[in-house]
């Protein structure tokens, strides 16, 4: 089981954490929601729960709860730009289909 992160994404998370002033790392998760069944969670982490698994990439902690990990195994988190818009992108090999905008997906 593993979750990875590109150098660019890690750099962005490091900067965000510094600006925020606190936080253990970045939480990746999956929850039931949205038009195609599941949606990604991307949050700062202040408290690591007992149920959480921690992966370290380029010096940044990625925290995933064990249930979400089932749907995220092998995911690579990337940071990119599309026109003026920039943000994080999940390259998740488990995804079978997603809604038009890609904000929710099915597994």
């Amino acid at each position: 089981m593993s979750i990875t992160m590109t150098e660019r994404a890690a750099e962005q998370v490091r900067r965000s954490l510094v600006r925020r002033g606190k936080g253990e790392g970045l939480r990746l998760g999956v929850r039931t929601s949205g038009c195609s069944g599941k949606a990604y969670v991307l949050e700062f982490v202040d408290v690591i729960e007992p149920d959480d698994q921690v992966f370290e990439n380029h010096g940044v902690k990625v925290i995933v709860d064990s249930k979400s990990l089932l749907f995220l195994d092998g995911t690579e988190l990337d940071y990119g730009r599309e026109g003026l818009n920039e943000g994080f992108r999940f390259n998740n090999p488990n995804v079978k289909g997603q809604c038009g905008c890609g904000e929710s997906f099915t597994i």
Partner: protein
């Protein structure tokens, strides 16, 4: 797939429900838009990477208006159709505009009221010009954030009056923005530095831009910023320094620029460059091509530079002293000084500000962007992207708001210290059979009785269809927008008839009065409670008496024996006399007694199957 941003713990939004909110600094010279992404507030650049959008709009006869750099470049060639500095006209009448002086080169349409500028595209109002600027920023933000905006916070100078604020809001709406709130520019700068996280303090915001200087003194108390004083000079800024340097260059080169405005423009451009260079370097190389083609070359050192700009920078001292005097504070009382505006990048300006206030000013955030960044942080909170504990308490209502209910009592709808904007609704029922109107009396204050509160407005809801008491349901909604404007609406829910009124609750109330009203409510708390419970019993007694009388009138003769009738009449009379007295417990007991002697009567009325829809309600009311 979609690009995602990092949320605060537990604040992830459902797909398609991201609340994208921006802060907009709608400036006299330049405007900016900023947003919070992954916890970081920053201004958003356009496709060419430029953050500042010149607040200039050029109109055409047959094409869409042009906004920004290109319009600014065209200002010289098409001055009548190219509108700059429109912020100075916002919310002004035509008469005010005339007194602003000959500095405005535009042709105004004749007529009274709102000034309208004649352009190739027809007459345009300052609100419409501002809306064009906002539209460009909105589009930029939607492209950068990848979705539609749910709302925006727009900043205004602290000294803007109600009509100038309203005009700014109108411009936002015209541009298709949901204006979450207008925020004072100095407050936005303070928020950008996180000063709102402190418990309390007094802050001086020193804002020296291209053409204006504003000094605001803010007091933070329990999360609420209050503007203590503002002062400034609407014709003082970096442009004056550019002129002084350009004048020196022309003098040194022995050139008379009055013959050729192009030489003057070039000199101004080079002067600005030299000014920027001198922020870091010990001297700046300057040159000028004379009309005869020969070239003058010179060097502007820090000493001459200081001699040129110091008199201009020195003019900021008087407004600073005036504002401190107006606020009744000394430099030692000031917790922090915040620098805003591009001209505060100059070390000499920073030094001067430090000298005036006797402390090193905060200057880590880009002074051109700090206002937009503060507005973005506020917009993010208002859009609901932060947990409520982190909610900035920027504005609260000082006193509770409510309406009068039966018995001369006040029912509070919005409690004091609620953060605004806020909306709350409560349902009320009709009190009398066949009641067709309801008077809504809007009150402000902490006391329980109408006579101890402040009356804000009265209006009537008419056209309620005749119904039995309690069947008509009226929903009263109190809504306070971010600018403190209260609107109260009442709607009868079965028929849909509605009515409303708008008032400004803060109008005419001083801090002392608010404090007195609060103190009174504490001093009289117990006494108010007793009066309230007595009034409540009296109202209940009135209602029960009316209901029993109405039932007796319709069915008493048919369903009651003379003896039964006499005992009910006896209890009725006793309750009436108890009600006239001042004993709440006695009235309660009288109501219970009447209830007991009428129970059999009520049961018989039901059983008699008198098909009035109201009988069910009657039973409830006796209970």
């Amino acid at each position: 797939m979609a690009l995602l941003q990092i949320s605060e713990p537990g604040q992830s939004t459902a797909p398609h429900q991201h609340r994208l909110a921006v802060g907009i600094d709608l400036g006299t010279t330049n405007s900016l838009v900023a947003s919070v992404r992954s916890g970081m507030a920053d201004t958003l650049p356009d496709a060419e990477g430029r953050h500042l959008l010149p607040s200039v709009v050029r109109y055409f006869g047959n094409a869409q208006p042009l906004v920004g750099e290109q319009a600014l470049a065209d200002a010289a060639t098409d001055p009548f159709n190219t509108i700059a500095s429109v912020k100075r006209l916002m919310g002004r009448g035509l008469d005010d505009v005339k007194t602003l002086g000959g500095a405005l080169p535009y042709n105004f349409e004749p007529g009274s009221g709102m000034p309208r500028i004649s352009t190739a595209a027809g007459p345009v109002s300052p609100v419409e010009v501002s809306a064009e600027i906002l539209r460009v920023l909105k589009l930029r933000a939607e492209l950068a954030l990848g979705g539609e905006l749910s709302g925006a916070v727009i900043t205004v100078p602290a000294y803007f009056d109600d009509s100038q604020r309203q005009a700014t809001k109108d411009a936002g709406r015209l541009a298709g923005l949901t204006v979450l709130r207008l925020l004072n520019e100095p407050t936005a700068a303070a928020v950008a530095y996180g000063l709102d996280k402190k418990a309390e303090g007094i802050f001086a915001i020193y804002d020296l831009g291209g053409g204006t200087f504003d000094l605001s003194i803010l007091r933070l108390n329990q999360g609420v910023f209050e503007v203590l004083a503002t002062a400034g000079d609407s014709a003082l800024g970096g442009d004056d320094m550019d002129h002084a340097i350009a004048h020196w260059m022309l003098q040194q080169a022995g050139v008379d620029a009055s013959a050729d405005p192009r030489i003057a423009r070039r000199a101004l451009r080079d002067a600005r460059k030299a000014k920027h260079v001198l922020s870091d370097a010990p001297w700046a190389e300057v040159s000028m091509t004379r009309p005869d083609g020969s070239v003058w070359q010179g060097r502007l050192g820090q000493e001459e530079f200081a001699a040129l700009v110091d008199p201009i920078i020195g003019r900021t001292a008087a407004p600073c002293r005036k504002a401190m005097r107006d606020a009744g504070i000394a430099p030692a009382d000031i917790t922090e000084v915040v620098l805003v505006g591009g001209s505060t990048r100059m070390p000499r300006v920073r030094q001067r500000a430090a000298d005036i206030f006797g402390r090193t000013p905060l200057a880590d955030i880009d002074p051109d962007r700090v206002v937009a960044i503060g507005a973005a942080i506020q917009a993010d909170v208002l859009a609901g992207n932060k947990s409520s504990e982190e909610m900035l308490l920027l504005d609260v209502i000082p006193l509770s708001l409510g309406i009068e209910i039966m018995g001369g009592m006040v029912e509070k709808i919005i409690p004091r210290n609620s953060t605004i904007p806020v909306a709350k609704a409560q349902d009320f029922t009709t009190f009398k059979d066949g009641q067709t109107a309801m008077a809504i009396h809007v009150l402000q204050g902490e006391r329980d009785l109408v006579s101890h509160c402040r009356s804000l407005a009265r209006f009537e809801l008419r056209g309620i269809p005749p119904m039995v008491a309690g069947a008509g349901r009226v929903r009263v909604t109190f809504q306070i927008d971010a600018d403190g404007l209260l609107s109260v609406s009442a709607q009868e829910l079965t028929s849909g008839v509605a009515s409303n009124v708008t008032v400004k609750p803060s109008y005419g109330l001083s801090d002392d009065e608010i404090e007195r009203m609060l103190r009174d409510s504490i001093v009289h708390a117990l006494e108010d409670n007793d009066v309230r419970s007595l009034r409540e019993r009296q109202v209940e007694a009135d209602r029960v008496v009316a209901a029993v009388e109405s039932a007796l009138a319709s069915d008493g003769a048919a369903l009651l024996s003379a003896q039964e009738r006499a005992s009910i009449d006896g209890e009725l009379a006793r309750l009436r006399s108890l009600r006239a007295g001042g004993d709440a417990a006695g009235i309660r007991e009288g109501i219970d007694a009447l209830d007991r002697v009428t129970q059999e009567f009520a049961a018989r009325r039901m059983n008699a199957g008198i098909g009035r829809a109201l009988s069910g309600h009657r039973l409830d009311e006796f209970g």
